[in-house]
């Protein structure tokens, strides 16, 4: 019913023949876009297709170079710096914009605090915040500090903030990129409640199945051009993907080459425990891709960080090539040939204000030293190699890495990790927030590494990815290994059964399968 309504309703926000250039560089070419009350309109496209620029224009943060915006049928110039919020257009950024030290109630009323006389009306704000959270069916204490919340809850606070501002258009930049499956479903329920109340939702996602599930219409962008705006019912995930990249994506995942049955075990972890995980045991063989699945917060990253010495382990043994090791610093694990690639490329992986070269060699600077000094020519050669091998695209090597698209950042981070020439590579969410074309490239790189005789651990929240890549899958739940799957057992349903705690295998049963 909501859908039918969306079809007939007048658009609340529309962009007419919007073009945008940054300096000399055109980013968007004459884009038409609109969204109606009660409708979910998804925008999809590869990294660099112009999605972020489009929503920045729709929310007033950027002004179009040409073309116009109409709101409620009136041509308007949206005020910059988020002031369009007062008009009812709210953008929720991919990196949530919440002050970590404020409470939930403070955050919801930030910038328009309720007052009694000259003083803050704390009680009333708390009451209204609680009421807003109530309408969302979210159970978050209005007095909780933002820093104490999970990412999913923080997102709910952002949504509550938007609702309390009477948002009529809610624009979300990849809201599900950091959410687990369950959290995504909760978010979608919220979005459906909002659209039922007549809110228009614009939504960027890389996940085709989510778009099929949630959106009424989909706009596909490619290289700044509008490829199509189509009703979701006329689409299949394949046809969207094809429109995005302009080519067939027949083999997103490379064929799996099983490791030899007698391939030696490179890494063996026994009863590893830290503050957040306990009793973790698994083996990793030469040439193997071992998937780590589980909900967000199930401890997968904690295991990886404990193995490479980023976090302190409270117990357990790690054996590398048959020799017992105990890394307390990352430098030790890097020297031993174990590299960890973080999932947080902006916060922990790359120096966003620096150029490509300094980032690439940061982990392995000692390789480029000559008589105590950095040999920049040697670094430049390494960058040339990495650019070719990982197909990194940037205007020039001096451009700050923060200005690259997510996919190119990810490929640069992969290059940086591989500079240490590891035998064992632990990749945490290797394709988070990047486009299908780049994902495919990364999948093929991972498969090639395994085929070369490296051993790879892939931690991923995308089940398809874990299934498509892994020879075996470790499923984690609440800091423990819930099960290890291999061969035909590796299915979405089976992984979810373990991840959700419906099924549980004995601890030692299948450790060294």
């Amino acid at each position: 019913m909501v859908e039918a309504q969306a079809r007939t309703a007048q658009p609340i926000l529309s962009a007419n023949r919007i073009s945008k250039s940054f300096g000399e560089i055109p980013v968007l070419f004459s884009i038409d876009f609109d969204v109606a009350p009660g409708e979910v309109h998804a925008i999809i496209g590869e990294n660099g297709a112009g999605k972020s620029t489009l929503i920045k224009i729709l929310s007033g943060i950027e002004q179009p170079t040409s073309g116009s915006i109409a709101y409620d049928g009136q041509t308007v110039v949206l005020p910059p710096d988020g002031k369009a919020e007062a008009m009812g257009i709210v953008l929720i950024h991919q990196e949530l914009n919440l002050a970590e030290h404020l409470t939930v109630a403070d955050s919801i009323f930030l910038g328009r605090e309720l007052k009694r006389g000259p003083f803050l009306d704390v009680g009333e704000m708390r009451r209204q915040a609680a009421a807003t959270m109530e309408t969302l069916h979210v159970h978050v204490d209005p007095d909780a500090r933002i820093s104490s919340l999970s990412v999913a809850d923080k997102q709910m606070v952002e949504i509550a903030k938007a609702i309390s501002r009477d948002a009529r258009v809610l624009i979300m930049d990849e809201p599900t990129a950091v959410l687990s499956v369950g959290e995504t479903q909760t978010l979608f329920e919220q979005i459906r409640r909002l659209t039922a109340r007549g809110v228009a939702v614009v939504f960027i996602s890389h996940k085709l199945d989510e778009i099929m599930e949630l959106a009424n219409r989909v706009t596909v962008l490619r290289d700044g051009q509008l490829i199509a705006t189509v009703g979701t019912e006329a689409l299949t995930p394949d046809s969207i993907a094809q429109m995005m990249v302009g080519r067939e994506l027949s083999n997103l995942y490379p064929p799996k080459h099983e490791p030899d049955v007698d391939a030696p075990v490179l890494l063996s972890v026994r009863n590893l425990s830290t503050k957040s995980v306990s009793n973790i045991s698994f083996d990793l063989r030469k040439g193997e891709i071992l998937g780590f699945a589980g909900l967000i917060g199930s401890g997968r990253t904690a295991v990886a960080e404990a193995v490479v010495g980023l976090t302190h382990k409270t117990g357990g043994d790690i054996t590398l090539n048959g020799a017992s090791v105990d890394f307390s610093r990352v430098a030790q694990s890097v020297h031993a040939g174990v590299a960890y690639m973080t999932k947080d490329r902006k916060g922990k992986g790359l120096l966003l204000n620096m150029g490509l070269r300094d980032n690439l060699t940061l982990l392995t600077l000692e390789k480029h030293m000559r008589m105590g000094f950095i040999d920049t020519a040697s670094e430049d050669r390494a960058l040339d190699r990495a650019v070719r091998r990982f197909d990194i695209r940037a205007r020039d090597a001096a451009v700050a890495v923060g200005r690259l698209s997510g996919g190119n950042q990810q490929k640069l981070m992969l290059g940086k990790t591989m500079e240490s020439e590891p035998d064992i590579i632990i990749m945490d969410e290797p394709t988070r927030g990047i486009d299908v074309g780049t994902k495919q490239q990364i999948y093929h790189i991972i498969a090639a590494l395994a085929a070369e005789g490296k051993a790879v651990i892939v931690i991923s929240s995308e089940l398809q990815e874990v299934i498509g890549l892994s020879h075996r899958v470790v499923v984690m739940r609440t800091g423990r290994i819930a099960g290890v799957l291999e061969g035909a057992e590796i299915t979405e349903e089976e992984i979810m059964r373990y991840a959700a705690g419906i099924k549980q295998s004995g601890n030692d049963e299948r450790i060294s399968a």
Binding site: F22, G23, I25, P26, V27, E46, N47, G48, G50, K51, S52, T53, D223, G224, L310, R329, V330, A331, V334, Y340, T342, D344, G347, K348, G349, L351, L352, N353, M354, L356, R357, D358, L362, L363, L365, E366, M369, F373, I374, T376, E379, D380, R381, L383, D384, V387, D391, I392, R393, A394, R395, D396, A397, A398, V399, R403, L404, S405, N408, K416
Partner: protein
């Protein structure tokens, strides 16, 4: 952010970016020199220039240490008081040793060694409290600033510590003489600056400082020993303060509670004018040198003319600092 069309495979090159951020401080320096020449014909004279540079060299040497501290995301407010206490202790050590060693270079070298040692120890103290104690650099060095200042007052018993006249006569040339007409302080300043620039640009220590100041987490995940690198920046700062004091003591031959007052702020100002970002992540030593010279020239030019009161020196310096940061502010992300 997402610009796709022009993204082509980058050519690796260590190019020089010719933008306002780079030329800004140089441009300001050139303008000041031009202004100086128009105001007074003696401005470019050998005496005037060596005088300005020699006086700037103390702050300059300290500011080069501060460049590393700030690039690595730290701050050291204690350098001015540290300089005073090092000067005081050096003078006391030299005076004590005269009965034992007699007047001569032996006493002076012993005093210098004591100064360097004290600078290093003070740096280790600051650094350990910040890295191992996990206390904000601002708080730690604010604390040690007070401690050092009060120590020098205590050692001087509220008055002035004076170096024995005969020793002072032997020591004097270190400030007033020079090589090939260039005073020693300027030579030392130049050596420290060249060394500092090389360390910042061409060693892993310099690169690691920038990485830590840019994002400590990234540095940690990239196998950099964040605490050690930080600690070394504070030790380096302490040692450079001591080097500056070695050149300062022969100038006046005394130390008191007013020695080195506000040096920390002048050093930080020079670093910022030079284009190093106060929150860390990017530093350039040559910029700091330019910054120090700019600050020195402002005072000098005010003294060489008669239209504006030289008492407004601080105001002009303040304006320059604010302008420098304003011009170097990153343009809004597009």
């Amino acid at each position: 952010m997402s610009v796709s069309a022009p993204e082509v495979a980058p050519k690796a090159r260590s190019g020089f970016r010719w933008d306002l951020k780079t030329v800004g401080p140089l441009l300001a320096l050139a303008l000041l020199v031009l202004l100086g020449i128009t105001l007074n014909e003696n401005f470019l004279s050998y005496n005037n220039i060596t005088n300005v540079l020699a006086r700037s060299s103390f702050i300059g040497i300290i500011a080069i240490g501060a460049t590393f501290v700030i690039t690595a995301g730290g701050l050291d407010l204690s350098v001015g008081s540290m300089a005073a206490v090092i000067a005081g202790v050096m003078i006391m050590v030299m005076n004590w040793l005269i009965p034992v060693m007699g007047v001569g270079w032996g006493v002076i070298l012993a005093g210098m060694a004591a100064g360097i040692l004290l600078g290093g120890v003070a740096g280790v103290g600051n650094g350990l409290m910040i890295t191992r104690g996990r206390i904000e650099a601002f708080i730690v060095t604010l604390g040690t600033m007070g401690i050092f200042r009060s120590l020098v007052t205590f050692l001087a018993d509220g008055g002035t510590l004076s170096l024995n006249f005969q020793v002072a006569d032997v020591y004097r040339p270190v400030y007033y003489d020079g090589l090939l007409g260039i005073p020693y302080p300027i030579l030392v300043f130049a050596l420290v600056a060249i060394g500092g620039e090389i360390v910042m640009r061409r060693t892993s220590f310099g690169r690691h400082c920038a990485a830590i100041g840019s994002n400590e987490q990234v540095a940690r995940y990239s196998s950099i020993s964040v605490d050690n690198v930080r600690l070394i920046t504070y030790i380096l700062q302490g040692l450079l303060v001591a080097v500056a004091v070695l050149l300062y003591v022969p100038r006046l031959g005394s130390a008191s509670s007013t020695t080195g007052v506000l040096w920390e702020l002048e050093a930080i100002a020079a670093v910022i004018i030079g284009g190093t970002t106060l929150k860390g992540g990017y530093g350039r030593v040559w910029g700091t040198v330019v910054g120090v010279v700019i600050l020195g020239l402002i005072g000098n030019i005010l003294n060489l003319q008669s239209f504006i009161s030289p008492y407004l020196n601080g105001a002009f310096q303040g304006v320059i600092i604010i302008l420098a940061v304003l011009l170097q502010r990153p343009r809004r992300a597009s």
